[in-house]
Point group: C2
Chain length 107, copies 2
DNA sequence: ACTTACGGTAAGTTTATACTTACGGATAAA
DNA sequence: TTTATCCGTAAGTATAAACTTACCGTAAGT
């Protein structure tokens, strides 16, 4: 599974998007991330694992605290996927247009 | 629910990503999209509905055929979300750094 | 040393969602 | 004007994934 696929999957869940956006403001320890969320702390841990494997966040262990912060890598992977997707779609669109034009002249 | 949230949710599913990428090559009717996929045609219809509501594809009805094609709007919504996300994360990072510096001088 | 705070993982439950079959309406072909 | 093709929706099922409680190890305070 590619990084971008993992990232899309990770951000597909609203709770994970919420956590991700919380970390946009500042790096936070797990308890602080869980604070205010309507789910248990272990649930948050599981979400963090998914976000981390998608390279959307990374971990810094400081003493007994696990500090998570946003990671650009996953963001870039998605961005690149989208940019490439659209440029390829445009290319294909042009090719199809040319082909259709040829077929029309033949008739 | 915002367009970008819907789009992330839509591309979170591997079958929908597959369909989306199939439509990148060319616009296709529903039967042609379903052809080769390991799921039933109604399942494909349901996926198409989700992708359509996320503005990732749109529909052109031609006779009795429903032709789906990629739509840039959903793609742009995600791209904008990611770009803004990262620039805001950078801003916050700078502010935090300045604040930390001040606190260090005070001590 | 003891106690408290932090947080990951395991195991099981619940809920969401992806899927199926069955159906019906609309257009196109015979 | 039948008959076939196309495809959306409804209803129910099956599966995935989000969640819970319980537990344990580690680090930090007392």
């Amino acid at each position: 599974m590619s990084v971008s696929a993992k990232a899309f999957n990770a951000l597909g869940d609203p709770t994970r998007r919420f956590i991700f956006e919380k970390l946009r403001d500042r790096p936070l320890a797990v308890v602080d991330i869980a604070d205010g969320l309507p789910v248990s702390r272990p649930a948050v841990s599981q979400h963090l694992k998914v976000l981390k494997e998608a390279k959307l966040i990374n971990l810094k262990i400081v003493g007994n605290k696990n500090i998570y912060e946003v990671n650009r890598e996953g963001i870039l992977a998605m961005r690149n996927y989208l940019d490439r997707f659209w440029s390829e779609a445009l290319d294909n669109f042009k090719k199809l247009a040319e082909q259709t034009e040829k077929e029309n002249k033949q008739e």
